[in-house]
């Protein structure tokens, strides 16, 4: 049996601000933040609310459903890890909760992706610590 290929794409760094996000993803749960004081939602995770500067933060679990806000089918990228997977779909997905995040749309032909397409999260475990939130068309 062939050895699994080493993971060559950039790996996110887990830090104080983002630990809760990455630990939830490792459990296959997608979270964003909301300020406990003023209620402002934010993504990506940060220590402080940019609206009221409060550090009182709650983690809100997303349903994992959303729509494609925009996308591009990438045919050229020389970077290791990506050049072996061309073409791939880079996208911004808007979660039903209103938060937009960069991701990949997987699980369909790249040419089938459309703006506005309903999608659902899929969790891709890329290392022992890191899981990425990607999206596929709602089945």
């Amino acid at each position: 049996m062939a050895e699994p290929k080493p993971y060559r794409k950039p790996l996110p760094r887990i830090d104080e601000e983002s630990r809760g996000y990455w630990e939830a993803l490792a459990r296959h749960e997608l979270y964003f933040q909301r300020c406990r004081d003023c209620g402002t939602k934010r993504f990506y995770p940060r220590a402080l609310c940019t609206s009221c500067l409060s550090s009182a933060t709650e983690w809100v679990r997303a349903r994992g459903r959303g729509t494609v806000y925009s996308f591009t089918v990438t045919y050229q990228n020389q970077a290791p890890g990506f050049r072996e997977e061309l073409p791939y779909v880079l996208a911004i997905v808007e979660l039903d909760e209103g938060v937009r995040m960069m991701t990949n749309v997987v699980g369909c032909a790249p040419d089938a992706v459309r703006v506005g397409m309903p999608v659902e999260v899929v969790f891709e475990d890329v290392t022992a610590e890191i899981t990425l939130a990607k999206f596929r068309p709602v089945s």
Binding site: K9, P10, L11, P12, R13, D15, E17, S18, F32, T40, K41, R42, F43, Y44, R46, T50, Y69, S70, F71, T72, V73, T74, Y75, Q76, N77, Q78, A79, G81, F82, Y88, L90, A91, I92, G98, V99, R100, M101, M102, T103, N104, V115, G116, V126, L132, K134
Partner: protein, 384 residues
């Protein structure tokens, strides 16, 4: 007292090279500085303000050493390709405030001979916090602009044919510029037939990769009267940043929407007064969204605005008569060339690509990744 109308571009030089494998970027900076100072009739000893970018975190120290400058005012603004337009804005403020007298802005790059894959390389230069939520998914620079193009097409029905017309117009202009990297005419069909790099953008929707550089010299309008060239005055400028905010930004809300109206207001100029524009054309979509955001047309009308020859020489608003980044040159950070071409046009020294009797020009630089985070700097230049 306003800073506007008190500083002039008095020296401008675009390095003619498009491929210089034996030169360092610093040599191109130096040769460009000599060109611009010579154009102004000044020397290195006159320079007391130094502005540059693209030289690394403290590269300005090395470059000042290489040029043997001892500036009293330094600005190594780093907001991407628009940085050099920002330098002129900041130099206008510094000179009007009496903080320096003669500002030198330089740029040099050997991106092409280093085979630097600017748009389709590593997909992110650094790993700051936002990168951790983007880089794992493979954004390239062209991909970032493509996200904006796709959204624009979705919201407004903008077509690949409309984007292609921008590339065709820039190539037609480049045919009039003997130094442009690509001069052979292309058609809309050629653009659409070129391979897709990141949908919906084709190869010919993307700027070229070249070596090159340039330099500018600025001083007060009083001092400018005694110099060799007709002064080109900075009438107004403004800058803005856009980013992903806290996860909700409208991709079509580009920085020009903020910087454009402010720069025009500061200059006391209306759109209809402008004789030409030099607009950062990293990709065709950059031109379309910029002109729209600057207010030359309504949101969504950029596609039809750029069609039918309106942005070509002889049209209502000639854009980038030098052929722009799409055809003339793009060594990675093109902002300085926007100011150089606008200056030459306003001096009336552009020969066959001269915009007739050009008196007022708008310059707009875009830097960074349009769909993720970017800068916009708008500047209005006028004949003295």
């Amino acid at each position: 007292m306003s800073i506007w109308g008190r500083t002039a571009v008095v020296g401008a030089y675009e390095h003619p090279t498009r491929f210089a494998p034996d030169k360092t970027a610093f040599q191109i900076h130096a040769e460009s500085a000599r060109g611009a100072l010579g154009d102004a009739g000044l020397g290195g000893k006159d320079v007391d303000g130094f502005f540059t970018s693209g030289v690394g975190p403290i590269g300005v120290l090395s470059l000042a050493g290489h040029l043997n400058l001892r500036p009293a005012y330094v600005d190594s603004q780093a907001i991407g390709g628009s940085s050099f337009v920002s330098h002129c804005f900041h130099a206008a403020a510094a000179i009007a405030a009496g903080l320096c007298n003669v500002a030198l802005v330089t740029y040099g790059s050997t991106a092409a001979s280093e085979r630097f894959a600017i748009g389709t390389g590593a997909g992110g230069f650094v790993l700051e916090p936002p990168d951790h939520f983007e880089a794992p998914f493979g954004p390239t620079i062209v991909g970032s602009y493509a996200l904006v193009a796709q959204r624009h097409m979705h919201e407004y029905g903008t077509t690949s044919e409309q984007l292609a017309e921008i590339a065709v117009t820039m190539r037609r202009h480049a045919g009039l510029n003997p130094e442009a990297k690509y001069r052979e005419p292309i058609t809309v069909e050629d653009v659409l037939a070129s391979r897709i790099i990141s949908s919906p953008l084709h190869l010919l929707d993307c700027c070229v990769i070249s070596d090159g550089g340039g330099a500018l010299v600025l001083t007060s309008v009083e001092r400018a009267r005694d110099l060799r060239r007709p002064p080109v005055v900075i009438l107004g400028a403004a800058e803005a940043l856009r980013h992903a905010e806290i996860g909700g930004r409208d991709l079509l809300d580009v920085a020009a929407r903020q910087s454009g109206p402010l720069a025009l207001e500061r200059a006391g100029v209306k759109h209809a007064d402008l004789d030409l524009a030099t607009v950062y054309d990293s990709y065709t979509i950059t031109v379309l969204t910029t002109l729209e955001a600057l207010g030359f047309c309504r949101p969504g009308e950029g596609g039809s605005f750029c069609a039918g020859g309106r942005i070509g020489l002889g049209g209502a608003l000639p854009v980038n008569p030098d052929g722009g980044g799409l055809s003339s040159n793009h060594p990675g950070m093109r902002g300085i060339f926007l100011v150089i071409e606008a200056t030459r046009q306003l001096r009336g020294e552009c020969g066959v690509r001269q915009v007739k009797d050009a008196k007022l020009a708008l310059v707009h630089g875009t830097g960074g990744m349009l769909g993720q985070r970017h800068s916009g700097v708008t500047m209005i230049l006028g004949r003295a």
